[in-house]
Amino acid sequence: MSDVSGPIRVIGIGNRDRGDDALGPLVVDALRGRLPATVSAVEHSGEVAGLVDLISGAGAVYLVDAAVMGLEPGTAREFDASTSPLPALGGAFSSHALGLSEAIELARALDALPSVCRVFAVEATSFEAGEGLSQPVADTLPRVTQAMIDSIRQESGHA
């Protein structure tokens, strides 16, 4: 269990109207009622400055986003970004080109990154406007949600 001081935040990044990009907001929906009262879960567009603000004011952050990692659609990956940058920073990692990776690195450069910073990424199929989640990403959503709950319990001391 880490020594977390400060607010614990779950941040679901994405756009509900853009296919698999809705993953982050939908995970936030799925977490409602399943987190301790001391943990907040918010939806965010992925815009970099707002994200830096959310990340840097927290004691621990758990971020979830749809991603393009070159894996099978629906594949989930978990990254510890507290000590090193996300892989392929500036490349095709996140669905938000100037967003998640850069926000984490900006917070790090400004010496404001929380001691716990975990990123949950799911390989997306499509970001088409007006489409819902693809089946592989929809199938992965409950597992990612549970993985985030487990991580929060273990690392932030919320049983």
């Binding site: 567009s45 815009e47 970099v48 393009v68 080109a97 850069e102 970001f127 406007a129």
Partner: protein, 429 residues
């Protein structure tokens, strides 16, 4: 024959996607094509069949950076269709909300996207390592803008408190008080931003633009006014389609906009500043003068300074509105739906944003037309590239690529965020 292609590859991007191809043949720029993939086309179809009252919430979702602009143009168009007049404090509150968006959008672009170009950094992260206090100032400015949007819009991203006729809920004077304190500090940060951007190494590039912006007789236009230009255009918003035409270009899903008689034109901060300079607050005008700006500005690279001046103005104007605020008796005006057509045009941070709706007798949307500023500026961006790149051909390949990116970013197009990440592929053939 020597031929060089500068290519910016397509990259998935949620707020907007783009690609650039510049072809140089025999020492001349033979082609500069910008491909942009924008979401408004989808939203125009999505709006058809929906109720007029849904337009502000639906269109706010087009862009995560400038949702207020889409909401404002939508409500003005609907109010024009339904003969609703929004005046007094409700009108002032809308202007306050727009000030918030100008502050946050401009601060994002100045500090996170554009400044790294001038200082030779690949991006804001590298810049933050060497200039942490400057980046913090940018983030703090943006936060001040977001604070206005959160209070008036109901939430920071995709605000939900705006409705046709006004707001669902209006703030109390007491609720606005803390905002004033935040904005006073932001105004100091904005003045420092003008001084800082004025000191950046500015490429020489005077362009002969046809500048187009809203103009209002009594204020620096944001929400209402006539559409004017530096070449004599002076039309009502309802006449937009008589003077401007959109055309499909195969390489882009965004429609290109042209003036029927004058071809390409420029919207955005340079146009607003040059056409409405006299209506800036005295503090903003003084800051512009100290920064070395004249009463007009047609060097696209100086747009970073002009945006900073507009941030000073937006802070100043927001403080004035808060100071004069009296709680309105009712949060919105209403009217019965009717078969009608309405037009709305407001000044998004990036420039003119035009909406047109045709409604049935029950207020159902039969037709929607949305013309975003980036689509209007696209031909002008290409003209800039074609004109300017020719003078830079002696620069090293990396510098040339960076200049192309910087030239595109002068416009703060929706693809700004994406292009900052692109690794350009230079091909020699």
């Amino acid at each position: 024959m020597s031929r060089k292609t500068i290519k910016v590859d397509y990259l998935a991007r949620v707020e907007g996607e783009g690609a650039l191809n510049v072809t140089i043949r025999d020492g001349q720029v033979s082609k500069a094509e910008l491909r942009i993939f924008e979401p408004p086309r989808f939203f125009e179809a999505f709006l058809r069949g929906r109720d007029y009252a849904e337009a502000p919430d639906v269109t706010a979702r087009i862009c995560g950076i400038c949702p207020v602009a889409y909401q404002m143009s939508a409500v003005h168009a609907m109010e024009n269709a339904l003969d609703i007049e929004v005046e007094g404090q409700l009108r002032a509150l809308r202007r306050l909300l727009y000030c918030g968006e100008w502050i946050e959008s401009h601060a994002l672009h100045i500090y996170m996207l554009h400044a790294p170009d001038f200082l030779g950094y690949a991006g804001a992260v590298d810049m933050a390592r060497d200039y942490p206090d400057i980046v913090k100032r940018g983030l703090s400015l943006k936060k001040a803008g977001n604070a206005i949007m959160t209070l008036l819009g109901g939430r920071e991203i995709h605000p939900i408190n705006v409705r046709v006729g006004g707001f669902y809920r209006t703030p109390t004077r007491k609720e606005l008080e803390p905002l004033a304190e935040t904005l006073k500090q932001a105004r100091e940060g904005a003045l420092a931003t003008v001084r800082w951007t004025a000191g950046l190494d500015m490429p020489e590039a005077e362009r002969d633009y046809h500048l187009v912006a809203l103009h209002h007789p009594d204020e620096y236009a944001m929400n209402t006014g006539r559409i004017i230009s530096n070449r004599g255009l002076d039309i009502a918003v309802a006449d937009y389609n008589r003077h401007f035409v959109e055309s499909h270009v195969q390489r882009s899903t965004a429609l290109h906009s042209h003036l029927r008689e004058h071809d390409c034109y420029l919207v955005g901060p340079l146009a607003r500043y040059s056409l409405n300079h006299g209506q800036l607050s005295s503090l903003a005008r003084e800051a512009a003068k100290e920064a070395g700006l004249g009463v007009t500005c047609t060097n696209p690279f100086q747009s970073i300074v002009v945006r900073s001046v507009e941030v000073v103005y937006a802070c100043d104007e927001a403080l004035r509105i808060i100071d004069d605020y009296l709680e309105p008796e009712q949060p919105f005006e209403t009217a019965e739906p009717k078969a009608s057509e309405g037009f709305g045009c407001t000044e998004a941070p990036r420039g003119l944003l035009f909406h047109r709706y045709r409604l049935d007798e029950n207020g159902g949307i039969l037709e929607a037309q949305i013309v975003p500023p980036t689509a209007q500026n696209q031909p002008s961006i290409e003209a800039d590239l074609k004109d300017l790149v020719g003078g830079w051909l002696d620069l090293p390949a990396d510098t040339l690529r960076e200049r192309c990116e910087q030239t595109i970013r002068n416009y703060d197009p929706c693809i700004s965020c994406a292009t900052h990440f692109l690794k350009l592929d230079v091909r020699h053939e």
